[in-house]
């Protein structure tokens, strides 16, 4: 008997009874949409949660920028919501400013960008791009999402914890340096939250590496993998090996806070005029080493998936192969390896001697080479191209100069003598935001516009996308470019009055107002994106399997793919970027098509 059925992508497909029984075990609503083991559902869960936290972290920053633009003025509209402990009469207390600052960093990095970039894009796209039916360990995948969720809830809850003199979250920077972090309020839940998040990451990275090694489709050799997969592969190794020291350090700091140990507490500490009754002989620098041992590779975790996404989109919208695929692969692997031995360039001002400073300076300069190779390869990929200015391509194109600025401004920070002047100033904030905000987050937007059709079977609106892009691009540069000027002028970071108390900042204060207005405008320009994203799920123009005419494996699955992803076993016949091959009828030859057109 010939049975047919409609698959999620809309195609009518022949199904034999046995496969039917296998594919359609009736899982209830909870097991299908909430506690799902399907990498696509988990990826979407990560993406939605990550996007929520990005918005939340962004909102924290918008509130901070009010205090910096108008120090001491009551926060409009929402000021009274914060209560007496945070903003009496709507005027932000310094402690609240510090909470906003510490949590903005923590939430953006650990709850927003990485879950979206790795948990969201990695989970959804990677198995499809390698032709796998799912991840190697679906149950562990599900667990990793829910542990992340718990970590997020813990971090949010930390805003409401009460202590002796007030209420609120961690306020010792996202870096949580002792001794301050050990004695400051709000850190305990932060540390517990971090332990959840790190555990989630470790579970995920084991899954990613195993999946890429073990579940590649027939014909998909390593050097035929899309660069996005390489980027996720290296990222997973960074997470696997670099996160555990921070997990250990988090436990140690928790013990310092709760059990009175002195892992990080030096002898002779005096707090508010009273000597601390602790054993002492601990070392605050030990925390810094363990923290930065993770946090440096972490910044590559932040950027690598974005580079992968941008690479896919550039190849697709230039209708040319990526320039220097081999160089890209070797560079990203070398970068991953080097990222483990540069961390103390965050510690140049801790009293390190010249030998070790020179060591870290050297490794830091060396690591800039693969980054430049990658960026150059992306830039050269544009040469002679017939560019399709789709919304994903707008964001991907902007990534190149934006990451370029971010990367180049990092060089003086990596040179110990220059860092003496620039450390802990707004220059640093400008540098790292350029790489993460118009860098990674633009890459995230690009990826969302690009893979939305695969996940939903519909396209997002191009007009709203263009407004989102141009508004964001202009505003984001106005937010971060002045910070270099402020930093070079000597304005310190983490000061709740915007630097007013120092005479040398006088000429730099005006930028705070400009930055604030640009930041709030940037917030407004995310509205077209939110409307577009949510609205297109229901009302976007329907598409079929391969609306972008792309070459990689995920475009051979239905849009959206069903359980098990592919209707027939995917087989790979060639490399990932066979665009505009001379002599073929179409301007692209997918990896999964047996014969050239």
């Amino acid at each position: 008997m010939d049975k047919t059925e409609i698959h999620p992508g809309g195609e009518r497909v022949h199904v034999d009874a046995h496969a039917h029984a296998e594919h359609h075990e009736e899982l209830g609503w909870w097991r299908t949409y909430v506690f799902s083991q399907d990498h696509k559902v988990i990826g979407i869960q990560y993406a939605f949660t990550g996007l929520f936290f990005l918005l939340f972290g962004f909102t924290l920053m918008m509130i901070m920028r009010w205090q910096l633009a108008y120090p001491g003025r009551p926060i409009p509209l929402i000021g009274q919501w914060f209560g007496q402990d945070r903003a009496p009469m709507g005027i932000m207390l310094p402690e609240f400013y510090n909470q906003l600052g510490a949590m903005h960093g923590t939430i953006m990095v650990f709850l927003g960008v990485v879950p979206l970039a790795v948990g969201g894009f990695g989970n959804f796209v990677m198995p499809l791009q390698i032709g796998a039916p799912d991840m190697a360990f679906p149950k562990i995948n599900m667990a990793s999402y829910w542990v992340y969720f718990l970590g997020g809830v813990t971090m949010l809850a930390s805003f409401f914890q009460r202590w002796d003199h007030g209420v609120g979250a961690a306020q010792s920077g996202w870096t949580s340096y002792p001794p301050l972090a050990v004695i400051a309020p709000g850190q305990t839940l932060w540390l517990v939250g971090m332990i959840f998040l790190i555990t989630s990451s470790l579970l995920g990275s084991v899954n990613f590496i195993t999946t890429i090694v073990q579940l590649r489709a027939k014909g998909l050799s390593y050097m035929r993998m899309p660069f996005f997969v390489w980027a996720q592969f290296v990222t997973a190794f960074l997470l696997l090996l670099a996160f555990p020291p921070l997990e250990a350090a988090g436990v140690l700091q928790l013990m310092d806070r709760l059990a009175g140990t002195s892992f990080f507490m030096p002898s002779g500490l005096v707090v508010s005029g009273k000597p601390m009754l602790i054993a002492g002989e601990g070392n605050p620098l030990l925390w810094q080493h363990l923290f930065w041992f993770l946090a440096h590779p972490e910044v590559y975790v932040l950027i690598l998936p974005g580079m992968g996404i941008v690479s896919e989109i550039i190849a697709n919208n230039t209708r040319k192969p990526l320039w220097g695929y081999k160089a890209l692969v070797y560079s990203v692997v070398f970068l991953g390896f080097m990222s483990f031995i540069v961390w103390a360039h965050h510690m140049f001002m801790t009293g390190m001697g010249t030998t070790m400073s020179a060591f870290f300076q050297t490794t830091t300069m060396i690591i800039s080479i693969p980054s430049v190779v990658i960026l150059t390869a992306l830039l050269l990929s544009l040469w002679g191209a017939s560019i399709r200015f789709t919304t994903p391509m707008l964001f991907a194109l902007a990534f190149i100069p934006m990451f370029g600025i971010g990367g180049l401004t990092g060089l003086p920070l990596g040179l110990a003598p220059a860092d003496i002047h620039l450390h802990d100033t707004y220059y640093v904030i400008g540098h790292f935001h350029y790489v993460v905000a118009p860098g990674t987050i633009f890459a995230m937007f690009a990826g969302i516009y690009y893979w939305f059709p695969k996940a939903t079977g519909r396209k997002m609106n191009e007009m709203l996308g263009a407004i989102h892009f141009w508004g964001s691009f202009i505003c984001i540069n106005i937010v971060f470019m002045p910070m270099f000027i402020q930093g070079l002028g000597g304005m310190n970071r983490r000061m709740y009055d915007g630097g007013m108390q120092y005479a040398h900042n006088k000429e730099l204060l005006k930028y705070n107002l400009i930055i604030g207005i640009a930041a709030w405008s940037l917030g407004l320009f995310q509205l077209p994106f939110i409307v577009n994203f949510l609205g297109s799920i229901k009302w976007g123009a329907p598409v079929d399997k391969n609306p972008w005419e792309a070459t990689t494996l995920e475009w051979s699955a239905p849009s959206p793919p069903g359980h098990g992803n592919f209707l027939t076993e995917p087989i790979v016949y060639r490399g990932p970027y066979e665009y505009s091959v001379p002599g073929s009828a179409k301007d692209f030859t997918p990896q999964f098509e047996p014969e050239r057109a």
Partner: protein
Amino acid sequence: MHSDPAAIKKSVRTYFMVGAALFAGTVITVSANQVHLAIPIAITVALIIAITKGSMVAAVFMHLSHEKKWIYGALVLTVIGFLVLMTVPMFTMMDSIGTPDAQAGAPHAETPRH
């Protein structure tokens, strides 16, 4: 790998022999401790014995001696990371510019802080 019964039977003998060797190694390491060596030598001896014992556990019990390339590769990377973590922070503290801690002899804690 070794899935056929004859090979496994041979391995069984090896397992028990390694177990005995590990017991012996433990006795040696405790005895070596009774001899009062200078600290650097004591550390070296203890580490050599521990590394020998650990290698036997890894090679034989964990079958690492005939494991696949991917496992070796991941472990080599890990060992490098481990060594970096052991040595580099210490080097930065040895090579520091600053005054040594004035040990004021902080009083002992009576109750843990919250």
